[in-house]
Subunit: 341 residues, 2 copies
C-alpha cells in the first residue's frame, strides 16, 4: 500500500522522480506549488525516505566530480627522529592500519610531520585549509603540543592514543585496564604466583594509572597471587630495578621495556626456566617475547573509520564531549614464559 520510492511517488503525481527528489529536499529548482503538492502526497501515501540510498547517491555524485573526495591528513606530532626507536614499530603499524582503512573507504591520505624537523602548527593550519582537508588523524606521541590553535571548526579530528586535552577530541586507543586483567588471568593459568609490575611513572600517569590500578585491584578479587607492590619509576634504571627485584622476588615481571629482561638475566634469573617476563606491548620488543599485542594496526583502522563517520555526518570542531574508543588486546605466546609446576 505504502509508497516506497521517489519513483513511485512521481508516477502517482505524473512527475519525474528527480523533481520529486528535489522537492523533498526543498531544492530551489522546484516551483513552490509543486513542492507543496509533493510533500502532501508523500505524507498521504506514507512515503519513507531511505537514508542509505540517499547517502550512497550523494557520495557518488560528489565523488565523480571532484575525483578525490576530500583528503585526510595524518599528523605525526614528533617526526621520526625524535621518537625513541622502541616506539617506531607500534607507531608505524597505527599508520598502516589507518592508511588501509582510508583506502578502503576511498580517502587519500596526506602525511604531515610536526616537531623540530617538521612544520609548525601554524603552517599546518594554513596548509590544511588551503587544500580543503577536512579530516585529521593524529598519530600517538609522547609529547602533546597544543593543537587547540588549529581552526577546529573547519576540521574533524581523531587521536590515536589516550585522550588528548588540547584540544579534547575523540580518541581511539588500547583498553589498558582490561588488558591487564587479560594478562593476570593468563599468568594465573600458567601457574605464576608472584607477578611484579615495573613501569615508567609518566607512562602510566598519562593513562590515569590504569595499568597499575587494574594490577592492584586484581589482587583484591583473585586469590593465589602474592601482592607485590609495583615499581613505578621516574626513569627506568638498573639500580632501582635490581634492588626491587632482589627485595620482592617476583616470579614473573610485567613491563613494557625489555631492557628489564636483560637485567633479570644479569641477576642470575633463567628465563623462562626460573622466572618469566611478560611484555605489556610486544610491538616494542625487537626480539620475540610473550605478552600483549595491543593491535596498533586495528587502532589506526578504527580511528580512521571513526574519522570517516565524523566527516560523513558533518561533525567538525571540538566535540562537546570527547569519547574514547578502546580496542582490546590479544595474548601472544613467546619464549619468555612457560607453564609452571
Amino acid at each position: 500500500m505504502a509508497v516506497n520510492s521517489v519513483r513511485e511517488l512521481a508516477r502517482r503525481l505524473g512527475l519525474s522522480h528527480t523533481t520529486v527528489s528535489d522537492a523533498l529536499r526543498d531544492s530551489p529548482r522546484v516551483k513552490k506549488a509543486t513542492k507543496e503538492q509533493v510533500l502532501k502526497a508523500a505524507r498521504e501515501f506514507g512515503y519513507h525516505y531511505n537514508p542509505l540510498a540517499g547517502a550512497l547517491m550523494s557520495q557518488m555524485r560528489r565523488g565523480s566530480v571532484e575525483t578525490f573526495r576530500g583528503d585526510i591528513a595524518v599528523v605525526d606530532l614528533e617526526g621520526a627522529k625524535m621518537r625513541p626507536e622502541v616506539f617506531a614499530r607500534f607507531h608505524k603499524e597505527v599508520l598502516q592500519g589507518a592508511e588501509r582503512a582510508a583506502r578502503k573507504m576511498g580517502f587519500k591520505v596526506e602525511f604531515f610531520a610536526l616537531g623540530s624537523e617538521g612544520i609548525s602548527v601554524d603552517r599546518l593550519n594554513s596548509i590544511l585549509i588551503s587544500r580543503g582537508i577536512r579530516g585529521i588523524l593524529i598519530l600517538p606521541a609522547g609529547s602533546s603540543p597544543d593543537l587547540s590553535v588549529l581552526q577546529w571548526d573547519h576540521f574533524s579530528g581523531v587521536y590515536t592514543d589516550y585522550i588528548i586535552e588540547h584540544p579534547a577530541i575523540d580518541s581511539v586507543c588500547s583498553n589498558h585496564y582490561r588488558s591487564m586483567f587479560l594478562v593476570m588471568n593468563r599468568l594465573a593459568r600458567m601457574g605464576y604466583r608472584r607477578p611484579g609490575l615495573v613501569m615508567h611513572k609518566a607512562h602510566d600517569e598519562r593513562i590515569m594509572h590504569r595499568w597499575e590500578a587494574a594490577f592492584r585491584i586484581y589482587h583484591e578479587y583473585h586469590t593465589g597471587f602474592t601482592n607485590i607492590a609495583p615499581l613505578m619509576l621516574e626513569e627506568l634504571n638498573e639500580a632501582d630495578f635490581k634492588r626491587w627485584f632482589h627485595d620482592t622476588k617476583p616470579d614473573v615481571v610485567l613491563c613494557h621495556r625489555n631492557r628489564v629482561l636483560r637485567w633479570m638475566l644479569e641477576l642470575g634469573a633463567k628465563v623462562p626456566e626460573t622466572h618469566g617476563f611478560c611484555c605489556l606491548n610486544v610491538k616494542m620488543s625487537p626480539v620475540p617475547v610473550a605478552g600483549l599485542d595491543l593491535l596498533p594496526s586495528m587502532i589506526g583502522e578504527r580511528a580512521m573509520e571513526h574519522l570517516n563517520s565524523l566527516i560523513y555526518t558533518n561533525r567538525c570542531g571540538i566535540p562537546e564531549m570527547a569519547s574514547t574508543t578502546t580496542i582490546p588486546s590479544v595474548w601472544v605466546d613467546g619464549p619468555t614464559l612457560r607453564q609452571v609446576g
Copy 2:
C-alpha cells in the same frame, strides 16, 4: 585509470556485472576459474568496493519487496516491569538519545521488549529478518540473556552498557574509571578528607571493578585523603552500612543509591552540614543530589551513530574485536554537598 565499479570490471572481462559481484563475494554460483580471473583483474585494475552501495543493495534485496525499510531495532532485554524503578529514568534517557539520533539520520526505530512480558529471542530473530531490519541497538540491562543465537551475520549491533560477552559486540557506555577521578578531584576541591565508597558487589564486578580500582588508585597519587576501605556488599543493607559508617567515619559517602542517604540521616548525620553525600549516578535519584550525570542520552546518541556507521560500511555480524566507546560524565552540584572548612 582505476576501475571503480563491478560493471566496468565486468566489461573489461567480458562478463556480466553480477558474475563479477558474485565472484568477489566468493559465491558458489561462480566457477572457480572465473573467480580467480575476476579477483586477479580486480587487483590489477585497482577495483574499489563501495560498502555503502553494498549495504544499500543487500538491504533492499533482502526481505520482502513491500516491507523494505531502513529501520533499526531497539531491543530492551528485560521489559519495563522487570526493571527496578531506580533504573527507569537512566534507561529511558538512553532510549530517547538513541531515537533522537536515529531520527536525525533518517532511520525509523522499532522497539522490541524481550523477557517475561515480551517476545523470545527466537521470535525476535525471525521478526527482524522478515522485516529486513539490519541494525540492532541493545538497551542497558541488569541481566544479559544469550543473544548469540541471533543470526548475527544479518545484523549490525551495538550495546549501550558495559561490554557484553554473548555475543561480544561493540558497546558504548560511561567512562566509569575516569568519572571516579572527576568525583575525587571535586571532593578534594570542596574540602572533604574522608571519602567512603559504598557499592553493590555485582554492580562493580560487571564493569571489572573500575569504580573501586579508580577509587583506590586515586589515594596512591593524591595526598590529603584518608584511605577508607570501600564497602562492597552483596546486597545493600542497613546493618552493614551503619556498622561501616560508624567504624570508618567518612565525611562524604559515594554511592549509587540514595537509600544510603536516609541511613546516614538516621545515624544523626546532617547533610550537607556535617556529612556529604555524592551520588555516582544522579539519574538514579528521585530527589536532587550532588554527583555525576552519566549522560545517558548521549550514550544512546553515540551508540546510534556508531550503529549507523556500521550499517553504512556494511559491517555486520560479530566483530573480530569488539570495541568499547566510553563517554565522560559531568559533575552536577546539589544540596547534598557543600564547601567544607
